[in-house]
């Protein structure tokens, strides 16, 4: 597995434990190996926060979907482009950001995968899974180019 990435683990400690933030910052190659790498790194962070097995699975699959979109559809496996992954965790949540350097992605352009005429389509379900499995999901365009997906999972959200 290629590890041609920046790997920073800065800790920001505030006075009160409830505001403690732990962040992780990765710049990954545009390859499928990076999908596995990001999933493993983020599951390590989520596991340290105490998410249960079910939530870890939901976080893991969401990260995979997001990374695949960034590598395959965003950067199109371009070796000169990176996928930027940022993770921050506080005691009650994990916040994950995945950004590519592609041409930009409009999630509203994805055909509704639940429409009867689309049920047998081969692809187009990734965004729906991320929305279903994470508590917050947002897509924005980056400057000068690219797409950023921000996802949040809360530990004890009812």
């Amino acid at each position: 597995m290629s590890l041609a990435c920046r790997f920073f683990v800065p800790y920001t400690m505030a006075d009160h434990e409830s505001t403690q933030t732990h962040t992780l910052d990765l710049a990954l190659e545009s390859s499928l190996e990076s999908v596995d790498l990001a999933e493993a790194a983020i599951l390590h962070e989520a596991g340290a926060l105490g998410f249960d097995e079910d939530d870890l699975h939901k976080i893991g699959i969401s990260v995979r979907e997001c990374m695949v979109n960034a590598v395959v559809h965003g950067n199109r496996y371009n070796a000169r482009k990176k996928v930027h992954v940022k993770v921050s965790r506080t005691p009650d949540r994990i916040v994950i950001s995945v950004a590519d350097e592609g041409e930009g992605f409009d999630p509203s352009a994805v055909p509704d995968p639940l429409a009867n005429e689309n049920l047998l389509r081969f692809s187009g379900r990734g965004v729906m899974l991320m929305r279903a499995f994470m508590d917050e999901f947002a897509v924005s365009l980056r400057e000068p180019k690219g797409t950023e997906v921000r996802m949040v999972k809360y530990k004890a959200k009812a």
């Binding site: 499928l32 999908v35 979907e65 395959v72 047998l120 081969f122």
Partner: protein, 114 residues
């Protein structure tokens, strides 16, 4: 771990026991190639036993759908057996429960092809 498929014949039904992960990359392509080979070799009644599938992503779901349509286009049927809770949840979320017949009893599933 990728996915490993083994087949066994129960009457006219080909039971495919799948073990591992069906995700983008090797897992999805192995699954696709195996199902296409079976369809090309005249296996028209496929029962996919997913009891040992630990992980499926949207690409894996796409391969399930692709396998379903490939076999259906040749006049055959694909049905599912022994879904884990996680795969059940995925089929619920994606509404694919309305597409696949799902069983948790192999004998009953085999009889359903008659």
């Amino acid at each position: 771990m990728s996915v490993k498929l083994t087949t066994r014949q129960v009457g006219e039904v080909t039971v495919v026991d799948a073990v591992g992960r069906i995700t983008l990359g090797e897992g999805a392509s192995t699954f696709r190639d195996n199902i296409r080979d079976l369809a090309a070799n005249g296996h028209k009644k496929l029962l996919l036993n997913l009891a040992e599938i630990s992980y499926i992503d949207s690409s894996g779901i796409g391969e399930l759908v692709s396998g379903f349509t490939t076999v259906a286009n040749q006049g055959g049927t694909v049905k599912l057996l022994n879904l884990t809770k996680r795969v059940q949840d995925l089929l619920q979320i994606t509404k694919l429960y309305t597409v696949f017949e799902v069983f948790d009893d192999e004998a009953k599933a085999v009889r359903s092809f008659a």
